[in-house]
Amino acid sequence: MDFILQGLIEAIKLLAAGGGETYSAIFTTLKVSTISIIASLILGIPLGFLLGYAEFPGRRFCRTLADTLLALPTVVVGLLVYAFISRRGPFGDLGLLFTLPGIAIGQTILALPIVISLTASAIEGLDQRLRLTLLTLGASGRQLALTSLREGLFAVLIASVTAYGRIISEVGVSMMLGGNIKWYTRTITTAMALETNKGEFAMGLALGIVLLIIAFTVNAILSILKMRAGI
């Protein structure tokens, strides 16, 4: 017990002190996860909307594909992206391996199926009466699509939060594409996975606490939005 208690006290001291390795990992995580979630939302929401709203040949296949990729293992994403952005890979000249944009690419690919699949489900799950109501109030095709997206906004927000949860908690992509470079690509999770068992137990605990706080904050924002949306 002493060991854990001691670690906890050290962890709180580390967090209170500010700066240092611990905060570097925290800011790196926030930075890269923000880029990743924005990129996956910009790409994923229109694609998911299209998948849930429009009828086109191959739609069922795309839907199944997106659903299957929900369970994409992070290390597989890491490996595939590594193959592409390594200097020997087709995009090697961009010099993306072991950089934040490199991690962001992997995390975006990881989050994309979640955003697409959940957005599509959200749009498919909209009330049948919505379409009739909007049309009979005089909506054009474009207005119908936009209002449908807005009616499904809350479900899309849930998709975003789920995707963010996946991004912020993944280790494999950050480790394989970021390389755990101190002060640069070391994230909360790579620091916890790779540094804690090198004796940095307090730092691991401190980072764990921060990860929980981030998860809690995101969910709190979600429930505030939920209350405001009146759902």
Partner: protein, 340 residues
């Protein structure tokens, strides 16, 4: 005197192979209140969706104000608006819901006043309702907000699908008053689907009866379903469970539906025996409905499992001193039927 707003011709609508609506010809005049009656699955809702231009019919022609409606081009959806039986409100405030249609039309002049006015029409106080969220409303209030969001558009046609089915009495009254205002203030045509025959005959200028997707004529109709059995004499017979029977001449098949005009049915408070060429069935009076457009009274008699209407003058009812609950005999000729 008034021109036609709708004209339907040779209209057929199918879901897959199944024909759900088949109307040879139907005209609706501007500014009228049209009731649509019929059992579940008779095609009422499909008819409303076609009139609201939300559903293209499989075959046939629809004319709106004399113009052929092509459903592939955007149809004149902004002229006719449908109030669903179970309304859908956008997940926004009451204001946003009522103003939505106007915003779609980029008509944003004086929004606040117009939304307030529309809310007042449906009996909702703008002060307390404008800023409410969509989920802070009772069923009746939601239905009225949905109606206000349509009235504000001043549509030429207001289509109401069972507007009173799921609301309280006070809301029902307010919904009807507001709908009548649409006719009074800007000459809107109302098409109302309802199960409530008494009420419908009271308010409608004309009542269309739909059965199995076909128009069984305008006004109240008696429908007698098969099976019919052929008897030795070559006549067809339907047996009621209590042993009485109805005899008809030559239906088109043993499952045919007989249509009987209430004007061809008479009622006697005294016992009648079936005679040659005329049925007599014993039953009890269950309802008496005043028919606004005919100035007459429909007397509804329930005999075992069937229900029959007889159309009578007020004077005749007084002379026979008929009242609900009374045992009576209804009579009609063997050849009074039309067949569906």
């Amino acid at each position: 005197m008034s021109e036609l707003i709708y004209e339907l011709s040779k209209l057929v609508h199918r879901y897959g192979e199944h024909v759900v609506l088949e109307i040879e010809q139907l005209s609706i005049r501007k500014g009228r209140i049209i009731g649509v009656a019929g059992p579940n699955g008779s095609g009422k809702s499909t008819l409303l969706k076609i009139l609201a231009f939300l559903q293209a019919p499989s075959e046939g022609m629809v004319y709106f104000e004399g113009q052929r409606v092509t459903f592939s081009d955007p149809p004149p959806r902004r002229e006719a608006t449908l109030l669903l039986q179970d309304p859908y409100l956008l997940k926004r405030s009451v204001f946003e819901n009522v103003a939505y249609g106007l915003k779609l039309r980029r008509d944003k002049n004086d929004l606040t006043r117009r939304v307030g006015q529309a809310l007042t029409w449906v009996g909702l106080d703008p002060k307390s309702f404008t800023h409410r969220s969509w989920n802070e409303l009772s069923g009746g209030e939601a239905q009225r907000v949905a109606l206000a969001s349509r009235l504000i558009l001043k549509p030429k046609v207001l289509l109401l699908d069972e507007p009173l089915a799921s609301v309280d009495a006070a809301s029902a009254e307010l919904i009807m008053q507001a709908s009548f205002r649409a006719r009074r203030d800007w000459g809107a045509t109302l098409v109302i689907v309802s199960h409530d025959l008494i009420w419908m005959h009271e308010v409608a200028d004309e009542v269309l009866s739909l059965f199995n997707g076909s128009l069984a004529g305008t006004g109240a109709r008696n429908l007698i379903m098969g099976p019919w059995q052929i008897s030795e004499s070559g006549l067809w017979r339907k047996e009621l469970e209590d042993g009485q029977q109805i005899i008809a001449q030559s239906p088109s098949g043993d499952q045919s539906v007989a249509v009987l005009d209430p004007s061809d049915v008479s009622i006697s408070p005294k016992s009648l025996e079936p005679a040659s060429q005329r049925n007599a069935v014993k039953g009890a009076i269950s309802q008496m409905i005043f028919e606004k457009n005919q100035g007459k009274v429909l007397v509804n008699v329930t005999a075992d499992s069937i229900s029959l209407y007889a159309r009578m003058t007020e004077d005749a009812i007084k002379a026979l001193s008929l009242h609900p609950g009374q045992t009576v005999w209804v009579s009609f000729d063997f050849d009074a039927f039309q067949w569906l």
